[in-house]
């Protein structure tokens, strides 16, 4: 940030000045901003790779890159998007920015650990980027690192796996910090029943981070050991078992998708009541369904492996458990819609993103049921339908939730408002482009196009063309959105402390918040997070 900005609050208050005031900060808001900057950078890099993949697939045969580059491109796109964008996106960036404020605390329980976690993220990010340009070339295994290919390819898998290990460590530290913070630092009057839903989802997410992430840690270490020492724990010839790798991998990586989506659901649960001027419908159902998703989501990993070789009984059980997860997810969607019912709805930009989230997530969620049912999965397995489904929930859900959060909360943290008209244009392009891209991808998947393939038969050309055009529309939408946010948050009109008329604690303190959030006196909470009576939105 240049000296000329007029930001006050935590942007200026710090024990150290200059760049060290950021690099050595233990203020949760500054760490949140650091995370947000890194996450958006990583998102832009990986989005460009994604556009390159779509461009390659615009027509059969070679278009812009050779097959090996294509393999590396989708692998790196996946690794960056999953481990460096989606997993840390909302919890690490907005969780850090808001969790302590939402519960009326000055900071998280372990501020130094929080900074360490950011450095782990940076080390992981640097290693991942290094792995693209060094060694035997960028990894080409797909983000799943499946054996035996990942133990045999000459590309730089070990470094990429170690990068993912470091990112996992960062995620664990954040999880430990958040669970402890929610238990220990709630202010006076902040009963469990008064926690904003965003805190509930962060809490559930943090538990998954703590419970599941070590499993990917040990699994990735074993891949590295196998490549370095020839451990053979996943090699049949040496008494190992490659299917076991898939189990260990998904024991983490399936819960990980809930790390990516749950905080997004929390964001939506904050935005919908504020712009409907109504309390959230079914508070406890929403709070407990977050925990239920975290719990049930940890028991369904093998639904990724119906085609890998499993007993019919195991398939039946995992298919059943997968349907169980749909129940708390559906509770959330119904409760959001019920909150809208008879509300005084204001279609501000954050609300538009939130509504888009519900639309995309509903499509992605229903597609997930088609994949969770063993019979239809055999047909859809490893087709682009899976890729489309995944992007519907992760990008249409998690990604849109992050954009919603940026439009909702960033004015709070910069004290300035972006241009609403441009935000709506960006949103519309993004929403249309998104649905064109991934609906076409799902359709061509049902026709039988395999995922991760470099080439395809001529019958699939039209839908692939449509999908690629959609990706460009989406890219234009993203550019407009980021440019508008960047410009508005630096030069836009100043806003008061409560531009949207929200009822949670962050709207009671100045924009941007001061370093210690609430000043000398700790806040005392006397009402729930969605009681809008008497709450007035500031003019800006």
């Amino acid at each position: 940030m240049s000296e000329k900005t007029t930001y006050t609050g935590f942007w200026q208050e710090s024990p150290r000045t200059g760049i060290l005031g950021w690099l050595l900060t233990t203020d949760h808001k500054r760490i949140g901003i650091l995370y947000l900057g890194c996450i958006i950078t990583m998102f832009i890099v990986a989005a460009i790779l994604g556009l390159a993949i779509r461009l390659e697939l615009i027509a059969p045969g070679r278009t812009i890159m050779d097959a090996q580059t294509y393999n590396a491109t989708f692998t790196v796109h996946g690794i960056i998007m999953i481990f460096m964008f989606l997993i840390p996106s909302i919890p690490a960036a907005f969780g850090n920015l808001l969790l302590p404020i939402h519960i009326g605390a000055r900071d998280v329980s372990f501020p130094k650990l929080n900074l360490l976690s950011w450095y782990c993220y940076i080390v992981g990010g640097v290693l991942a980027v290094t792995s693209i340009f060094s060694g035997g070339g960028a990894p080409d295994t797909g983000w799943t690192f499946y054996v035996p290919f990942s133990t045999q390819t000459n590309t730089n898998v070990s470094l990429a796996a170690f990068a993912a290990f470091m990112l996992g460590f960062s995620s664990i530290l954040t999880g430990i910090n958040f669970v402890t913070t929610v238990h220990r630092l709630r202010c006076k009057g902040m009963k469990w029943g008064r926690l904003p839903l965003f805190v509930w989802t962060l809490y559930a997410t943090a538990w998954i981070q703590v419970l599941a992430t070590p499993m990917i840690g040990i699994t990735l270490v074993l891949i590295i050991l196998e490549r370095t020492f020839g451990a053979g724990l996943f090699d049949v010839a040496r008494g190992g078992d490659p299917i076991l790798y898939q189990h260990l991998f998904w024991i983490y990586s399936h819960p990980a998708v809930y790390i990516m989506i749950l905080p997004g659901m929390g964001v939506i649960s904050e935005i919908i009541p504020t712009f409907s001027r109504k309390p959230l419908f079914g508070y406890w159902a929403m709070a407990l369904s977050s925990l239920a998703i975290a719990f049930a989501g940890s028991l369904v990993w093998a639904h990724h492996m119906y085609a890998s070789g499993m007993s019919d009984l195991a398939i039946l059980i995992f298919s059943f458990l997968t349907f169980i997860v749909a129940i708390p997810s559906a509770i959330k969607v119904f409760n959001w819609v019920s909150t809208l019912y008879k509300g005084s709805i204001e279609l501000a930009p954050p609300m538009l993103f939130a509504l888009a989230f519900i639309f995309n997530f509903a499509i992605g969620g229903l597609g997930g049921l088609a994949l969770g049912a063993a019979a239809s999965d055999i047909h859809l397995h490893d087709t682009t339908f899976v890729v489309g489904h995944f992007h519907y929930v992760m990008f249409g859900g998690g990604g849109f939730a992050l954009f919603a959060a940026m439009h909702y909360w960033l004015p709070k943290f910069t004290g300035r408002m972006y241009n609403h008209k441009m935000a709506v244009i960006g949103w519309a392009l993004l929403f249309v482009g998104f649905n064109v891209t991934y609906m076409a991808m799902q359709a061509v998947g049902i026709m039988g196009m395999p995922r991760r393939y470099y080439d395809y038969i001529p019958e699939f050309t039209t839908l692939n063309l449509v999908s690629t055009i959609g990706s460009w529309v989406m890219a234009v939408g993203l550019i407009i959105m980021f440019a508008n946010l960047w410009h508005g948050l630096r030069k836009g009109r100043p806003v008061g402390k409560n531009p949207w008329g929200g009822a949670t604690l962050e709207w009671d303190i100045p924009s941007p918040p001061p370093m210690e959030n609430f000043g000398e006196e700790d806040p005392v909470v006397t009402k729930g997070p969605y009681e809008f009576k008497g709450v007035v939105a500031d003019e800006y």
């Binding site: 900071d107 664990i172 669970v179 053979g232 724990l233 010839a237 040496r238 008494g239």
Partner: protein, 199 residues
């Protein structure tokens, strides 16, 4: 932070969460062990008999004793006996080093016999034996790494105690290090019978 914030219960709570992640980390290797054991029960027993039970037993005694000394160190600091705390921490670190030295001789002997991951000799003995020793090396290796980290941690805390940063009413750091050390001990309590005794 201008306003002093201190929450010992919170710090302990966080430590317990961290220990939980460590348990999960090792559980991945235990799952691999369970699966391989059910696949190759005979070969696992055969491989297990090749391990030297004396090394394992001595290390078990060493590690259990060190758990006792660190627990005594926590009690000592609670009573404000700094000198006693330092001695007990020192004994714990010494026992940790003894464990690692013992492990070094044990592994040297095994490697001398051509038993190590990726060796030709191991491959000739069949997939079950190979798998057993691969798991043995990586589980014990990861545990050894934890012994090293734990010993480093306790040394740092001892230095802080000597400097007066850890005192009788501010001892959470030592307590948490001791918790970590007990976990290291606990993992070994499971490793030892699984690899040396029960087969």
């Amino acid at each position: 932070m201008s306003i002093e914030h201190r929450d010992d219960t919170g710090a302990r709570f966080g430590m317990w969460l961290f220990l939980y992640t460590e348990v999960i980390l090792f559980s991945g290797l235990f799952i691999l062990y369970a699966m391989a054991l059910s696949k190759f029960p005979q070969q696992f027993a055969e491989a297990s008999h090749k391990l030297n039970i004396y090394f394992g037993s001595i290390n078990t005694i060493v590690l259990l004793t060190s758990s006792l000394t660190i627990a005594l160190a926590v009690t000592a600091i609670q009573r404000g006996r700094i000198r006693q705390t330092l001695i007990l921490c020192g004994v714990t670190v010494a026992l940790a080093l003894l464990f690692l030295v013992n492990k070094y001789f044990e592994w040297s002997e095994e490697i001398g016999h051509g038993i190590y991951p990726g060796s030709e000799h191991l491959a000739e003995m069949g997939p079950g034996v190979t798998n057993f020793f691969n798991l043995y090396y990586f589980t014990a290796g990861l545990h050894g790494l934890h012994v090293f980290i734990g010993a480093t941690l306790i040394s740092i805390v001892a230095v802080l105690t000597a400097k007066g940063k850890v005192t009788s009413d501010r001892y959470t750091l030592l307590e948490n290090s001791a918790l970590y050390w007990h976990l290291v001990d606990l993992v070994w309590i499971f490793l030892f019978p699984l690899y040396y005794l029960i087969l």
